[in-house]
Homo-oligomer: 117 residues x 2
C-alpha cells in the first residue's frame, strides 16, 4: 500500500512547505491566484494544485471575482493540528514532571472535546 492521500487531512496538507507558505501569505489577507504565483515564484499550475489540496482540507476558501479566484485563509481548519501539538508544548517551555503533566493534559483535552461535541 501507499501513503495516505495528502488530501485526507490538515496534517498532510501542511506537510508541504509550499502550502505552508501559501497559508502564511493568506494570513495577511486574501489574494487572487496570480498574486500568489508572483509572490511565491512558482508556476501557475503548481499553485493551483496546492490550493486545491488546501481547499479540500478546508484550509482556504475561494471567492469568484470576475475572472479571478480570490483565496482566503480558513484558519479553524488548522485547529486539529494546534490541539494535537499543544499537548507537547510543556516539554520545551517549562520544567515540569513531564510524565504527569502530559498525562493530565491529554486527559483534560479528551474531556473537553467530548463535552464540546
Amino acid at each position: 500500500m501507499a501513503r495516505a492521500a495528502t488530501t485526507a487531512d490538515a496534517f498532510n496538507a501542511i506537510a508541504e512547505p509550499r502550502r505552508r507558505e501559501i497559508l502564511d501569505l493568506l494570513a495577511h489577507g486574501e489574494r487572487p491566484v496570480n498574486e500568489l504565483v508572483e509572490m511565491l515564484g512558482l508556476s501557475q499550475p503548481q499553485i493551483s494544485k496546492h490550493l486545491r489540496v488546501l481547499r479540500e482540507v478546508g484550509a482556504v476558501d475561494v471567492r469568484v471575482d470576475g475572472r479571478q479566484r480570490v483565496y482566503a485563509l480558513n484558519g479553524p481548519a488548522l485547529k486539529p493540528i494546534h490541539d494535537w501539538v499543544k499537548n507537547y508544548e510543556r516539554s520545551w517551555s517549562e520544567r515540569f514532571d513531564e510524565l504527569d503533566v502530559v498525562l493530565k493534559d491529554l486527559k483534560s483535552e479528551e474531556e473537553a472535546n467530548d463535552r464540546g461535541k
Copy 2:
C-alpha cells in the same frame, strides 16, 4: 519529482496518523518496541519503521535496555510545528483586525467547534 522525504522534517513525520499515535503513547512514558506493537496492533516492522522516521526527525530517543530498545518522547522536536500553527490560533480563538473577514466568514463554524476553551 516526487513528494518530499518523510524524514525531512517534523511536519512530514507527523503527517502519518500512526506516528502521531506512537508519540501520543510515548507522551505517557517510555516504552519498548514490543509494547508499542501490542498496544497499536501494528506489525513489528511497521512500528520499527515509523520509529525510525520519528528518530530521524528527533521526535523520539532510544535507550538500549538488554535486548529491548526503549523509546522515549523528545517533545522539543515538535516545537517548529507548534510555532507555526500558533500564529493561526487567533483565527478561531480571538478577534484580530487582520483576520476579521475570515472570522466573520467562519463564525458559525467557530461557535460550533470551539466551545469551552
